[in-house]
Every structure is written in C-alpha cells, then in structure tokens.
Symmetry: C2
Subunit: 344 residues, 2 copies
C-alpha cells in the first residue's frame, strides 16, 4: 500500500519510440502537485496496483497495429489500474472504495465516474481485477472458448503457458476435459505447469535446438495438436503448425517473440500456410477489447472458481511506482510467472 | 474425340517422386490390351477429357499432406475424368452415356457403377464436369461462401485469379456485390480479368519488384482487404496480409508458389501472424473434398448461370493422352487461362 501523503502527482510519460527492447530510457518521470479539485461526477483515485502488459509494446510499433496510430509521445503510458477512491463527487463511489480504471502509469487520476468499475474486495484480492478477473482472464476465457472451442479429449497446446494469459488458458482447457501441453521457458516454469496448474505435459522450448526437435517431441507426447493457443509466435509456432490435426484451431493471442523489432521489420520464418489447407485448419486473431462488453459472462463463470480457491492465479508483484518501465522491460525477459504487477 | 479403336488400354503410371518440378520423367506410359469383360454392375468407360490439377503435385510431397501418405508409386495417376460408356452391366447407364469418375490418367476404366456420376450434356459442355460444374467450381463456391463470407461493398482479392478456381471466385464475388481485385501473372491475363470476368481491378504480380511494392499498389487501389482468396501463397500473400482490414477472412485454397519443393523444405518468408491479432482476422484452409456431399447445393445455383451463359468458364484444352505429364507440368509455368484439360 501507498503510505506517502497524497500531495504529489507522479506520471510516467512515454517520451521516445523504442526500435528494439523497451526500457526506462523511453519514459520520463513527471512530478507535479496533486490537483484535488473535482467537478460534478468526478472522482479522485490513488493507484494501488498498476499493470504492465505485452500489448503496450505493440502499440509502440511505428506501423499501424491494433490502433491505427502508435501510442502518442509525451502522454501518460496507457495501462489498467486498481486504485482507491480518495475523494468523490459521484453518488456511486465514496472514499476508500476500490475501483478499476484505464488511468495509466500515474500515481493519481481525476476521472469521470463512468470510466471506473467498482471492485468488490470480498470476491477476491483486488489485484485480480488486473489479472484473472480482468483483461488477461477475459482474453484467456473468450480466446479459448470462442476461437479455440476445445472439446473433452482434444489436445490443447499453450505457448507462453506460464504467463498471465497462458496460465489461465492451461487451467480453463483442463476444465473443458482437454489434454493440455504447456510450453514455457525454463524447467522451473515447466514444473509449475504440471505440478500446480495441472498440465498433462510441459516443455521448455529453450531445451530444444530448433523447431524440428521441439515439433518431434510435441508429436511424441500428444500425437498431434487440436487447439494451439499462441502467445509467443516464432520458433514455437514453427514447431506446432506442421503437426496440427484435422480442423485444428489456432488462436493468435500474442506474438511476444516478435515484439522487440519484428513488428516493424518482420523476422523471417518458414512458410507454413500450406498446412492450413491439408488440415482445413483455422487461425484466428483475438483481442481482449472485443470481449469487453461480455465481461459479465466470464465473471459469472470464473469468479466463483477464484472465490472457491479452485484456480491458480499467481501474481509477480514489483514494489514502487518508479519501477514501472523496468517492470515492462522484464515482461520480455520472461522471468516472472503469472500476472506481473507494480504495487504503488 | 477419340477415334482410335478401343482395343488398347493406356495408363500413365506415377513412377518416381519429384523433389522440384514434376514432369514427364516422373511418369511411365504403360500399354496393354483392353480387357472388356464386365462383372455385374460394372461399366467400361473410355476417357474423353482428363484433368490435371495442382493438388496432384501436393500429394507427391514426401511429407504428409491432405493424405497421410504420398500418391503410391507405380499406380495410375489419380485424376478426375469425363468419359463415355462403352459397355455397361448396370441398369442406370448405357453405351454412349457421359459420366464423371475419378478413374485417373488412363484411356479406359472398368469400374463399379457406384463410382460414376452421370452427366447431362444438355446443361453444359460435358468438360465442365471437370471445371465450373465440378471440383474447381465446388472449391470456388464453398471456399468463397463458407470461409470467405463476402458482403456487398467489401473488397475481395483473389490470387491465381486467372486459374480454374480463381477465375470463378472473381465472378462469384462480383455476384455477391463485392469489389474484386484479381492478381495474376502477365498483362494478358490481367486484361482478361477486367474485360471478360468483370474484376474491378487486376494486377500483374510479376510487374512488382517485391511484396512491399505490390502491397502499396493494392492498398492504393482498394483501401484494404476484407477477403483474400489465396491460391498461390508466397510473395502475393506477403503483400496482402499487412493490409487486411478488421475481421478479414483469408481462405487458403492453394499455395501453388510453394509446390515445387517448398512443401518438403519450406521457403522462408516474413512472419505475418501478428497482423491476425491486430485485425482479429481469420485464416481458414479449405479442401474440395469437404464439400463433395454438398455438390447439389452448388449445382442448383451455378448450373443455371452456366446454362444461361452468364459465367465465363474458359478451358485450355491440350490434345493427346500422351500429353498428360507435360500438361501437369505446365500448370506451374502459368501460361494457361481457366481450366486446363487434356482431351483424349
């Protein structure tokens, strides 16, 4: 929790475009006195947990991505935030209430009440509004159920399986009765996938010399892939597409292996689309925003599992507002498990 | 028509796997006296038109493709055939009747009546059973309508647009009210696409230095792509995927640019799957066989257009049974327009 007096308004401004890895040099810390004036229906919140997510790097690409324009320079980095109400001119919120809002990388925000969602701390830790009960949970749930359409007995392979989205996809797929292979970087993450998340198999992609070797091992373990939930792209995808089964569904949720430069100047890889033809398979790109209006459907199913302690939703928490750029950078080095958060 | 006496049974046997381009050296001509004996419900047919299709080269790949095993060596090349009944022990067919069957590259075939489909020559030229009213028509119709789902006002781009399937997709898409760009090799084919098939635009991919240049021109003409019906893959696909629009549908019907070697040892190309994410787009592989049981749905719509002369279904006819391997080879040099057939 933040014990500092609420008189200083700190903001991380995005001030230069990265061409490779994003780090602190692309941000500038801006400090100003906190303005506590509120208009009608406005709320002043103090950030308690601030999110860092791979999508932030996508929108720093110089080319059009999910938005036509890159993130504007010299503005506060866009981000999901869990905060507490300090003062409210709105009837529906009072001081001390917990809220979620897209208020970005700043210590405080003065916003219209309509841009905030109240969080009930009785359901789950409030930080889950940035994870299993928030954007990553929604992405995992709808990506798997709407695009992946897994059936009991099918083989679901998840790349980036130890990440915020992947770790949920592993568990959601198991609940559908699928046999699940998680792919992650490092033996420790793999042990976590099988021992804690219930994956049938886990493979450390770093332990394989190339895509062919990884492909052979996946084939040997699973007999072929019905659903591939892809968070990473690159070599792991090269290993999987040649061993998809008939009518396989491939969900492109992320391509994190390509974010440090490959979005602007694409990396080269083997042409694989002929396999789509042989297997009459489908590749579908998904984005969390497309399911925002259906959040209640996900929460109705997943929140009871969270409340009952039936889902593992690990968080890696970094303390300190000043750590935000470094935390974003560390998403791409892959050492964290589950959802990466900064606590203010 | 075949005026030779029906005493000689000629067969093209597939006798060696190509590693690059397929040609006559991979086939052996086998001749034997024609056996005219017939069991109950058997029919003796003489081939009149024999098909050559790109899928034949796919099944010569050493790796699993749409079939788990490559085409067996020392067997007659699989192919669709339009023939005439010479003799029949089946009640439903009599001498002189026209039939379609998958009897392969041979001058005659003795088959069970259940493997033949009777053709009504009053509807259209009988050769159309290998083209617009056969497998290519079915592929174009269901690939476009079921996977492409084009809407009026949308932009449909067709690669291999002067080919057997592509030339139909162009016309079917126009009938859906779409704006259609056909991509083909050479100015003559492009003129045919706009002047005869009604394409809004046509581009000769050979006139562009690279995928980026082609991409810019497609973007300038169309403003972006809603549906991409892909018969070729490679550089044309590299040009199109970066300019797909939101919820674009990409149909992988063929990847002919990859068939001469790239199926076994994939060619390298730029990684493009991140665009699927940005646009929440779909890639779907389709295969004609999956719609075989729905042939009547296609015929009910398309056959009246053919009979009324409202569709262009050009055929390039090569005369002579001995020309079959050379005709197959010429599919990959791209000089023909529409459906390529060998007349026996």
């Amino acid at each position: 929790m933040n014990n500092s007096p609420d008189t200083l308004h700190q903001q991380w401004l995005y001030t230069s475009h990265p061409t490779a890895t994003v780090s602190a040099e692309h941000y500038t810390l801006h400090k100003q006195p906190l303005d506590t004036a509120l208009d009608r229906d406005e709320v002043l919140i103090a950030a308690r947990y601030i999110s860092v997510d791979p999508y932030m790097r996508i929108n720093q690409s110089s080319k059009p991505t999910y938005n036509p324009e890159p993130h504007a320079l010299h503005t506060v980095q866009t981000a999901g935030v869990v905060g507490q109400v300090l003062a409210s001119n709105a009837a529906s919120l009072k001081a001390g209430d917990w809220v979620f809002g897209m208020t970005g990388w700043q210590s405080h925000a003065r916003v219209h009440v309509s841009s905030l969602t109240k969080i009930d701390p009785a359901i789950a830790p409030v930080s889950t509004a940035l994870g299993v009960l928030g954007m990553p949970g929604r992405t995992a749930w709808f990506g798997l159920t709407e695009a992946g359409k897994p059936h009991a007995g099918e083989v679901v392979v998840v790349s980036g399986a130890a990440g915020a989205v992947g770790s949920l996809v592993v568990q959601f797929a198991k609940r559908h009765g699928a046999k699940v292979l998680g792919i992650a970087g490092g033996a420790e993450k793999c042990a976590w996938l099988t021992d804690k998340l219930g994956a049938n198999w886990a493979l450390d992609y770093k332990a394989f010399a190339d895509a062919d070797a990884l492909s052979q091992q996946i084939q040997a373990l699973t007999g072929g892939v019905d659903v591939y939930f892809d968070n990473v792209g690159g070599m792991v995808t090269d290993a999987i597409i040649p061993i998809i089964k008939r009518r396989a569904r491939i969900i492109i949720c992320g391509q994190i292996s390509q974010y440090n430069g490959g979005l602007d100047v694409p990396e080269m890889g083997p042409r694989l689309l002929h396999h789509m033809l042989y297997q009459r398979a489908t590749i579908q790109g998904i984005l969390a925003r497309d399911y925002l209006h259906r959040m209640d459907e996900m929460l109705a199913i997943v929140a009871p599992w969270v409340k009952a302690g039936e889902l593992v939703f690990e968080e890696t928490v970094i303390d300190g507002f000043e750590q935000l750029p470094a935390a974003l950078n560390s998403l791409f080095t892959g050492e964290h498990r589950g959802k990466l958060l900064v606590r203010v």
